[in-house]
Amino acid sequence: MTLRKVDRFTGALAVLASLFIIAPMVALLTKVPWRFFVHDLTQVQSRQAIALAMWTSLLAALICVVFGVPLAWVLARGNARITNVLRPIVLAPIVLPPTVAGIALLALFGRDGLLGKYLYHATGWSLPFTSIAVVVTGVFVGMPFLALIVESNFRHIPKDLEDAAVTDRASKREVFSLVAMPQIRNGIATGAVLAWARALGEFGATMMFAGSLPGRTQTWAMQVYIEMDSNMGTAYSLSAVMLVIAVAVVFALRKPLTQAFSS
């Protein structure tokens, strides 16, 4: 049916584009040493890295929801003069190189950082090299994805629904939390899953800001990098699971994602 609508040349380009993306993923799967697959994933370093990456990214996603949903509401309904400036700034990490994110987080939270300086002088404690730093990095890179998706969902809520609530003497806060938020439960879930996946995969910024210590800051993605130099097979096994997660996430979210990006 769709075939009839697409001319051959355009179709051929599309096939090439798809192959370009699919081929490396298939190649990765062919390199996985399946005989050692279970062993590779269950050895201590892998288990530690996977466990750490999972809990830090889930916590990051939760924080993204708690603060990102209100942010998205402001972006959707706030004063346009402010939101037009605020939006590009808070969404920038989506396209920011991870190394820049890492150095920016150090500039703020490092021992000599804008905020970290005072924290360190007052308490002798600093954020870098802690698991919390991994979470903070995840929030920084994940929040924009949640805000982007959730804002778009808020914009799709029919205005008259909110108007009706206001006529019924609902407060502004009630419109947000009792009317708008329940309407877009799926959208929030979509944003949360995207933020989680982004936090789970972060590597460059984490390495610069949180360092790399097994069990504390050495995440799944970082383990792939480290294993590449010592045991390529393990790197392939760890990567394969990440690939499956990525495809599964996008597959599960295919409907809400297409909805969010069509207005």
Partner: protein, 244 residues
């Protein structure tokens, strides 16, 4: 219009591309050599007019992996013999080169007043070293094991030597096990405490030609150049060790 663009791009690329590859060699070198080899590369270009030396400075195991995967390198200088052996599919022969040793480095301010290796045990001290997989980490592990006094654990195992020194200079940690050459380069900011076991704390660099290089003579000339007495003297001043 579009095809014209293609033709122009093609024309613009071809001569330049071949000219560049004719007199350009690519050297894969351990990240701890970044400063001295950048200097030696410049000096080599000066003494061989018309040539260009490109570098890729990364952790030695990473470079070995890349070379095995077919990376376009002409010369490989690793921070240990083990890593160059791991690249033996394309670097079958190599010679031992200069030495480096790891030391415990602290900022000149030294907030925890660390003056001995066991100072790392002071409560509250944050210290880092290289990951166990890379040469500076192997040397750090051996040096610490031989010393035997340190019971505390590093807060991070950095994937490459350059990352360790960067975090120490940034002030994110109170101490770090780094190469002696890093301290020499930053002598105004850092002090060093040496390990008594010099053998355990040392690593020997190795240099070899990539066997399928298309620049055999130029690459060989570069290898000879970095082993001339003049180059060795420069490396020695930078803190590297040599057998005299």
């Amino acid at each position: 219009m579009l095809s014209l663009l293609f033709v122009f791009t093609f024309l613009a690329m071809t001569p330049q591309g071949s000219a560049a590859s004719k007199n350009t060699i690519t050297v894969f070198a351990a990240s701890s050599l970044a400063d001295s080899f950048t200097y030696l590369g410049k000096a080599f270009e000066k003494s061989h007019p018309g040539t260009t030396v490109q570098f890729s400075f990364l952790a030695s195991p990473t470079l070995a992996t890349q070379i095995n995967a077919g990376a376009p390198a002409d010369v490989f200088v690793s921070a240990s013999g083990k890593d160059i052996q791991n690249a033996s599919s394309r670097v079958p022969y190599y010679v031992g080169y200069v030495f480096n040793r790891v030391v415990l480095a602290v900022p000149v301010k030294n907030p925890f007043k660390i003056t001995r290796i066991r100072g790392l045990n002071t409560p509250g001290v944050k210290w880092i070293q290289c990951a166990h997989e890379v040469p500076c980490g192997v040397a750090a592990d051996a040096a610490l094991a031989s010393d035997g006094s340190v019971t505390s654990k590093p807060v991070s195992l950095e994937p490459k030597a350059a990352g360790v020194i960067a975090k120490l200079l940034l002030g994110e940690v109170d101490a770090a096990i780094v190469y002696h050459t890093d301290v020499v380069k930053n002598r105004k900011a850092l002090k060093e405490i040496v390990f008594t076991d010099r053998l355990a704390s040392s690593t020997r660099y190795a240099i070899g030609l990539v066997n399928d290089t298309k620049q055999k003579s130029l690459a060989a000339a570069f290898m000879d150049y970095v082993q001339t007495p003049k180059a060795i003297l420069y490396l020695r001043r930078s803190g590297f060790g040599v057998i005299s």
